[in-house]
């Protein structure tokens, strides 16, 4: 017998399972159940669980079966339900795969399982209910878990509370790490339930019941779960009573105020507008315990823009302390700014550990809290050099105005554009003599060369707005015209200042504006001085040329004398403008050149070496009225000068000749036109040929228009005379 016994033991588990299978159903179930409870080998547990799982599968009942067959089938179904309950009671020791299969078999059969497990004598069986509820997410299991909150066993009601909190976290898709230390890691869901009841509604129902019974179970996790739902779901507001003295409200306030879980700080931010919870929320927001606490809350910075929240956040003071450090080698004193412990906002030492999303929101928080100047500097200055572009952008918005200019030069276009917008907003037209104005102008003159198109455009617009002499645009003229109309004295002062001390370009633009406004007579003396000092080292020839042009509209003796003086200026542009100005002065003065002095001067200048001077002289000659000596004296002289230009061997002179020909009363068929035609056909220079072609075309068009006009005029006159 002893020998026989010794032979028994090496038999494998499979053999024993085969022997068990030959037993009646109840002993078989009992053997597997007790073995599952006692086994420690995972493989054994897996095998035994499969065996019990097999017993848990419900057999079908044939609809056409007889009463005896039906009764037998129902009995087998009952046995299967008992086996399922037994299997579920071992939930804690089952492998993930076995759990998944168990949930699959149990789906739709929860009533019996819940009935057996809720009042099971073993702690593990009742705990299994919590595990299954969490793993399956099955709403039918929430209610029994809620009942377990009042279980006699401390571990059970604690587990029930944590289960409900975990379910809320899963429902709200919250990261379990944000609930630490109130909640550990959550088991991953094994099965997505095909539930008829919405999980959130079931959770709300259970939690509503649980929070009203808070005095009996006092589970902190239930209060936290309710808080999460209230903060994230507007339908859950009924979970919190507006009565401050209510036990449930007290619990919620306590958790909100004292929980160190980072998510509670986010809840506090969301619940700032809640009547019964707002002061606890303010209290929680005024403290941050660790990095996760800072990071999670800072990310929600957009919520601070809500006016109600903003008003409550303004109650939180952030004050910094400054300590004077030992001076540097160059004697500069330095300040160390420190924020208090558990400050609601992170100082520079935390920045590198914070996520970019959190860093970007810090300026919004700084704006929301009651932050003093020192604290603002301590919080924002480190962000100004952040690697993240959006962080710099957000920080630059809240930074001191003195740093705005620096950000206009940022490599990131949105940052530079934002800073440029602020710069434009603050920059105002000021007295040009002030240092502020000069600084603004310097900055803008650099910004017009910015790599960002938007910044360049804004800088140009600002230049125009702040300095009417800065560009030649029509907007500049309009601004100058308005200023002249509104405050002529101040405008003339500015104009004279620019002409005296401005750059060459600015002077030229100022002269142009004065000519367009017709106020050259107001600045005659300055124009004269600009021309007479034209030989100085600091005077630009372009300024002289512009001044001479402006003097052309003045007929004073000084102006005329000065213009004639410039006819001998070494710069051809100045000489050319002087020829034009002289001609214009003569016309304006209505002089008839009786002494032929102008004619002789122009005749002398028609042989100038520079084409522009020569062209102006010929053009002016052709515009002169007939001399006293008769047409014979005039016409050949001017025409021959023009023909000589058109025949000149230098291409620029021929081009200038065409320019004069176009502006003269040249008609088709005249001698000049034949010269132009020969240029268009045979000139060796392509540019000259093209210009000549264009001129001939325009002459033809002009003549056609004139003949049409003449015909219409003749018809009209015949019609008025009554002729057919």
């Amino acid at each position: 017998m002893r020998q026989k016994s010794a032979v028994m033991m090496p038999e494998s588990l499979e053999h024993r399972v085969a022997l068990i299978r030959s037993l009646p159903i109840r002993p078989r179930r009992a053997a597997i159940d007790t073995a599952l409870a006692a086994a420690s080998d995972p493989e054994e547990i897996e095998r035994l669980a499969i065996e019990l799982l097999e017993l848990s599968v419900r057999p079908g009942v044939k609809t056409k079966a007889g009463p005896w067959a039906r009764r037998g089938a129902y009995r087998r179904q009952l046995d299967a339900d008992i086996a399922l309950s037994l299997l579920c009671s071992h939930w804690g020791s089952l492998s993930p795969a076995a759990r998944l299969h168990t949930l699959g078999v149990a789906n739709g059969r929860w009533t019996g399982v819940i009935r057996d497990l809720v009042q099971h004598e073993h702690t593990n069986a009742r705990l299994a209910l919590c595990g299954m509820a969490l793993a399956s997410g099955e709403p039918a299991l929430y209610e029994p878990v809620g009942e377990l909150l009042e279980d006699e066993e401390a571990s059970i009601h604690r587990a029930a509370g944590v289960t409900l909190l975990s379910l809320v976290a899963l429902e709200l898709e919250l990261d379990p790490a944000t609930l630490a230390p109130d909640l550990g890691p959550i088991d991953q869901q094994c099965l997505i339930p095909d539930a008829e009841v919405q999980p959130r509604q079931a959770l709300l129902s259970v939690l509503r019941s649980a929070i009203t019974r808070y005095g009996e179970h006092q589970q902190r996790s239930i209060a936290l779960a309710c808080l999460l739902l209230i903060a994230h779901d507007s339908h859950a507001h009924a979970l919190a009573s507006n009565r401050v003295d209510h036990a449930a409200t007290q619990a919620l306030r306590g958790v909100l105020r004292w929980s160190r879980a980072p998510i509670t700080r986010v809840c506090a931010l969301r619940l700032l507008g809640h009547d019964a919870l707002s002061d606890a929320a303010v209290n929680r927001l005024s403290r941050a315990h660790d990095l996760a606490d800072h990071d999670l809350t800072l990310r929600q910075g957009h919520l601070t823009l809500n006016p109600t929240r903003h008003a409550h956040l303004g109650k939180i003071e952030v004050r910094a302390r400054s300590t004077t450090l030992a001076p540097d080698a160059d004697g500069t004193e330095r300040l160390r700014i420190t924020l208090p412990k558990e400050c609601p906002l992170p100082d520079g030492s935390w920045l590198s550990a914070l996520s970019p999303q959190a860093r970007r929101q810090i300026p919004r928080w700084v704006a929301a809290f009651d932050t003093d100047e020192l604290a603002t500097r301590a919080l924002l200055d480190p962000l100004l050099g952040d690697d993240d572009e959006l962080t710099r952008l957000m920080a630059s918005r809240g930074a001191n105005a003195r740093t705005t200019t620096d950000f206009c030069f940022d490599a990131c276009e949105p940052i530079a554009r934002g800073a440029m917008t602020r710069f434009s907003f603050h920059a105002a037209a000021q007295d040009p003599t002030t240092p502020t104005h000069r600084r603004q102008m310097d900055t803008l003159s650099k910004l017009v060369r910015s790599p960002h198109a938007s910044v360049r455009r804004m800088a140009r617009e600002d230049l125009t707005r702040l300095d009417p002499w800065a560009s030649d645009s029509s907007q500049t003229s309009l601004i100058a015209r308005r200023r002249m109309a509104d405050e002529p004295e101040a405008f003339l002062v500015d104009l004279r200042h620019v002409l005296m001390s401005g750059s060459a370009l600015t002077r030229i633009r100022a002269i142009g504006i004065a000519r367009r406004l017709g106020i050259t007579d107001q600045i005659e003396s300055l124009l004269l001085s600009l021309v007479t000092q034209s030989h100085g080292p600091n005077v630009d020839e372009r300024v002289v040329a512009s001044s001479v042009s402006a003097l052309g509209s003045l007929c004073t003796p000084n102006a005329r004398q000065t213009v004639r003086m410039v006819l001998r200026h070494p710069d051809p542009r100045a000489r050319a403008n002087a020829v034009e100005a002289m001609s214009k002065q003569e016309r304006l003065a209505g002089l008839t050149d009786e002494d032929n002095s102008l004619r002789s001067t122009l005749t002398e200048l028609r042989g100038d070496s520079h084409q522009r001077v020569r062209a102006n002289a010929v053009h002016a000659l052709m515009a002169l009225p007939e001399p006293k000596g008769g047409a014979a004296l005039y016409t050949p002289s001017a025409s021959s000068a023009l023909i000589a230009m058109l025949r000149d061997e230098r291409a620029p002179h021929r081009v200038s000749g065409l320019w004069v020909a176009e502006r003269s009363a040249v008609t088709h068929g005249s001698a000049l036109v034949s010269h132009v035609q020969s240029l268009a056909e045979m000139d060796p220079d392509r540019g000259v040929r093209n210009r000549a072609h264009g001129l001939i075309h325009r002459i033809e068009v002009r003549q056609r228009l004139q003949s049409t006009k003449l015909t219409v005029t003749a018809d009209n006159s015949r019609a008025s005379a009554g002729q057919p």
């Binding site: 026989k4 016994s5 010794a6 090496p10 037993l23 109840r26 002993p27 053997a31 080998d41």
Partner: protein
Amino acid sequence: MTTRAPNPEPLRLITGETVGGDPAREFWLLVGVLAVLFLFSTLGAMFLWWRRTVTTDAGDFAFRALARRLGIARQDRSVIRRLAQLRGSAPVALLVSPSALRDAIEACRHNKEANLDRDSLDRLMHSLATG
């Protein structure tokens, strides 16, 4: 063609006395019926006993059935029952699960109050080791 008349019942004279059978035959008939009734009632009682045993103490039934089928000696059964008692689990669990039995033996070795024969434990361990 002739027709035969049906065979009529034999004629009996009604005298008022009962018609008597064979007494021995009737006795044995009665004995047979009683024997059948006894057999069925015995079988029914056995079935009910078996069923009650299975229903009320399924675990013990399973232990005995398994032990019998595995051919475990009587003294070994008592050792296993004692081990299960010390461990706080059902005896059948130790029969079904080798790891549970191994754990129970190990725990018993370190338990001075177990009062179990070391030879029995060694024999169980040996049998486990050979497996």
